[in-house]
Amino acid sequence: MRILLIEDEKGIADFVLKGLQSERFAVDWANTAEKGLLWAKVNPYDAGIFDIRLSGGQDGLSILKEVRAKGKIFPVIILSVTSDAQTKIDALNLGADDYLTKPFSMAELTARIRALLRREKKITEQILIVGDLSLDTRTHVATRLGRPIVLNRKEFALLEYFMRNPGIVLTRNMILDHVWDMNADPFTNTVDVHIRFLREKIDDGREKKLLKTVHGYGYKLEE
């Protein structure tokens, strides 16, 4: 897997490089926008990590725009220090696949990259199946071994996110981002509590537990 990192801050680039390399990714680090853009155009990448604020002329978003204009569709994560909704919306509109706010943990970044790389392409599927668990996205009803499970709104959203990313570790921040659309958790334990309740519904009394805790990282749904 080859990843393009465009980041002008050496300190950040260093630990990102270290972190990703230890996860067996091949990383090209471009410390300027020009270099990054050139590489993005000529090399085949599997994913990109662009810092939104770069010293010099261009910023991450304009690079993204040009890359997308060249027909390159590899997934891109935007790194930013601001967490306001507008920047986020702008980035997603320009074709970014994810958005990560500094400071972030390496685990978080790795998890997100994995999620993007292994993402199911058919996201429009209506019935999601993981093992003996299925979820009808139209009726919001989950069934396990043919027995229906009633979910409330948040539980449904949570389960859908897991079922669309089976086998991938999802960090608390990723879950908060995707399910609650929040950057910070005022309650500090929102995700954990919800996972516990969801677990009660889908795993309690079952031999095989689907929803697993990855200690120190997050959770994953796996057969």
Binding site: G11, F15, P103, D181
Partner: protein, 725 residues
């Protein structure tokens, strides 16, 4: 025959004199000068009449009244001299002196009826009267001459004290008096003393010239315009002519009609004519006045109307130049002047305002207005009328006269007829230069009175305008200063917000590096130092949360933070928030519920949700299991009230007023919060033009109330179309 025709002439003169006397008295009956003149003329008329009667009747009976007449004449002359030139006010002491001074006259007057002055009248061979004088006659004559001489001297003394222009006007008075007195002295005194009474009647003929000229002077001097007198005379002549014509016509017509009783025609036509006169005279007079006005009183105006108009003009504006323009135009139109120029000097600013040209004139332009103004200021006079000053210049000291004359010629060259200063706070800050009258006549007394009124009335208005101007300038200055200051404060504030944003922005990068490296270290050393690494990570998290909060505040404070707002359904907002935390509350054993009316606010959903979640998380933190949290939304007037009520531990009275302050932490609760949560809530709500308040009772719970302006969309009423049923 000579006597007869002479006597007839005398009667005509008597009648004319009497008419003139009455006219003068009626003109201004309260004026002592007019009264004195009447006494004098009455005496003269009495004297002439009695002399004539004496000649006609050859009777001694009329001779004493004739002498009385002369004495009354003398009295009148003394009074005239006393009150000359214009109703001089006499104080009590002077009056007593004057009465004492008249005692000899009274004695002589009383002795006139005795035999000591005139014994009897003789008729000589030619039929002329010859008076046989008594013992005291020379004494009487001496007394009278003394009176006349004294008065005449006094009169001349007063006359030469007057300004030349006034003297010119009173010249007929003096000439008439002199002529009359000399004739009377010659004919009625010297010749009389030498027993020649043949020419005694000639003097009475001169009285007409004399009385006429005096009358003219009095009327003219008092500015009881002589034109009035002439016009009134002409008017009566015309009236008499018309009446006579009417009478004759009526009479002629009646005679034709009543040819049998033509005697009846006289009284009937008389009555008819009188009736016609009573009905027609006022009408005739009005018509005549109107017809002759353009001829006699061209350019005249009604004083009251002018004053009334002036009032309107003065209060029409408070702008100084506007005021100059309106007052100047008023004067130009009313007095019919060629021009009017205002000079304004306010210490620093000075300029001329030409009313005719409607513009400001440069101080150093071609005309010599500036020199005129400085010359006028050096004269240190109140208002100046150039013609009067020119005439008066001859009476003053040589040095002064020269100054006056040069000033007058300078003003005349520029066509200036009068200079009127407007005194404001004792200083002539505004000076009005007036041009000549378009008719070429001098300014009348009426014009001068009007100018006096204008200078006082407009002076007040001008002062007001100057003050108003100053206040306005001051207000503008203040406004500018306040604006500048506000702008500076705004910029400072903006800069502060920007600085805060930049700083927190810059903090995030090193924090990221730190965190990344800690993770790497953690991996390397794995479980050995877990606890220490955990603490470091938690501290880093907290630090980055703090930095994030500060950035959030900075963005909210910045004027550029135009939150993207839209219509928000409060019920839905509360429901979503309820959904977000339902599980969390359930986990803790707290019951959360919500109730809301259907209402809308205009705002940013994310930010409002942030506020609500913040409040709910606080409520949850301080509410023990079994407690309740209630979210509610309702409309109160034109506001939407959203409240989060809990049954938690509450906030103590000491802390309650400070909870929305930044970095305020309730001591002893051991929370790991940043102390910015509620502060950010307040910032967000204030950015929505709302308020947030808290009510609480320790150990019983607290209630946070958000009030936001209601958002109402006005929909057009449903169209009713009966045809589409």
């Amino acid at each position: 025959m000579f006597i007869d025709s002479g006597l007839l002439l005398q009667y005509v003169v008597i009648c004319l004199n009497m008419a003139v006397a009455f006219l003068v008295l009626v003109d201004n009956p309260r004026n002592a000068l007019n009264r004195s003149f009447f006494i004098f003329t009455f005496g003269a008329v009495l004297w002439m009449f009695c002399i004539n009667c004496a000649y006609l009747g050859k009777s001694f009976m009329f001779f004493r009244p004739a002498l009385c007449g002369t004495e009354i004449m003398v009295l009148g002359f003394v009074l005239l001299a006393e009150y000359f030139p214009y109703d001089v006010k006499i104080d009590k002491k002077k009056r007593n002196d004057f009465l004492l001074f008249l005692i000899p006259w009274l004695v002589v007057f009383l002795f006139t009826f005795s035999r000591f002055i005139i014994r009897f009248l003789d008729i000589d061979g030619d039929g002329y009267l010859d008076a046989i004088t008594g013992v005291l006659f020379p004494v009487r004559s001496m007394v009278m001459i003394w009176y006349v001489a004294w008065s005449f001297f006094k009169f001349l003394k007063k006359y030469f004290k007057l300004a030349l222009c006034v003297r010119i006007r009173l010249l007929p008075f003096v000439v008439g008096t002199g002529l009359f007195l000399s004739v009377v002295t010659v004919c009625d005194f010297f010749l009389f003393v030498f027993y020649d009474v043949h020419l005694i009647l000639i003097s009475s003929l001169f009285s007409l010239i004399f009385i006429g000229s005096i009358a003219y002077s009095i009327v003219c001097h008092q500015f009881m315009d002589i034109r009035f007198v002439i016009r009134r005379g002409a008017m009566y002549v015309v009236a008499i002519f018309i009446i006579a014509l009417a009478y004759l016509n009526i009479h002629f017509f009646l005679q034709e009609f009543l040819y049998e009783n033509d005697r009846l025609a006289y009284p009937v036509s008389g009555v008819l004519t009188t009736a016609a006169c009573i009905w027609g005279f006022p009408y005739l007079r009005r018509e005549f006045d109107e017809a002759t006005n353009p001829f006699f009183f061209r350019g005249d105006y009604d004083c009251f109307c002018a004053i009334r108009e002036l009032g309107g003009v003065i209060y029409s504006t408070i702008n100084l130049n506007e005021l100059f323009r309106s007052v100047g135009s008023f004067l130009i139109q009313t007095i019919k002047l060629e021009k009017a120029i205002f000079f304004f000097d306010d210490g620093g600013v000075s300029y001329f305002f030409d009313v005719g040209a409607q513009k400001e004139v440069l101080v150093d332009s071609e005309n010599n207005y500036k020199e005129i103004i400085s010359a006028f200021e050096s004269l240190s006079m109140k208002s100046v009328f150039i013609k009067e000053l020119e005439l008066g210049a001859r009476d003053t000291q040589q040095k002064r006269a020269k100054q006056y004359q040069s000033f007058c010629s300078m003003a005349k060259n520029e066509g200036i007829a009068a200079i009127i200063p407007f005194f404001l706070k004792g200083r002539a800050r505004v000076i009005l230069l007036l041009g000549n009258k378009k008719s070429g006549w001098a300014l009348s007394k009426k014009d001068k009175e009007l100018l006096w009124i204008v200078s006082h009335q407009a002076g007040i208005a001008i002062e007001n305008a100057i003050l108003y101007d100053a206040i306005q300038r001051h207000a503008k200055e203040l406004e500018e200063r306040v604006y500048k200051k506000t702008e500076r404060i705004k910029n400072m504030h903006e800069g502060q917000s920007r600085f805060l944003a930049d700083v927190s922005h810059e903090f995030q990068t090193p924090l990221s590096i730190l965190r990344g490296n800690i993770e790497c270290l953690e991996k390397t050393y794995n479980k050995k130092g877990e606890n220490e690494f955990y603490t470091i990570r938690m501290t880093l998290d907290r630090l980055s949360r703090l930095v994030g909060s500060v950035l959030n505040i900075a963005q909210l404070n910045s004027s550029k933070a135009n939150l993207e707002k839209r219509r928000i359904d409060v019920e839905k907002l509360l429901e979503e928030s309820y959904d977000d935390c339902f599980v969390l509350t359930k986990e803790k054993g707290v019951i959360i519920s919500f109730s809301s009316e259907k209402c809308f606010v205009f705002g940013n959903t994310d930010k409002l949700r942030e506020v609500l979640l913040n409040l709910i998380s606080n409520a949850l933190k301080y509410t023990s299991p079994g407690g309740t949290i209630l979210l509610s939304g309702k409309t109160i007037g034109d506001e939407v009230e959203i409240s989060v009520t809990d049954t938690g531990s509450g906030i103590s009275r000491k802390n309650l007023p400070h909870i929305f302050e930044r970095f305020y932490k309730i001591d002893g609760n051991g929370s790991s919060g940043t102390g910015l949560g509620l502060y950010i809530c307040r910032q967000i709500i204030e950015a929505h033009d709302g308020t947030i308040t808290a009510e609480s009772e320790a150990e019983r719970g607290s209630c946070f109330i958000i009030r936001l302006p209601i958002h109402v969309v006005y929909k057009p009423e449903k169209l009713i179309m009966p045809g589409l049923q």
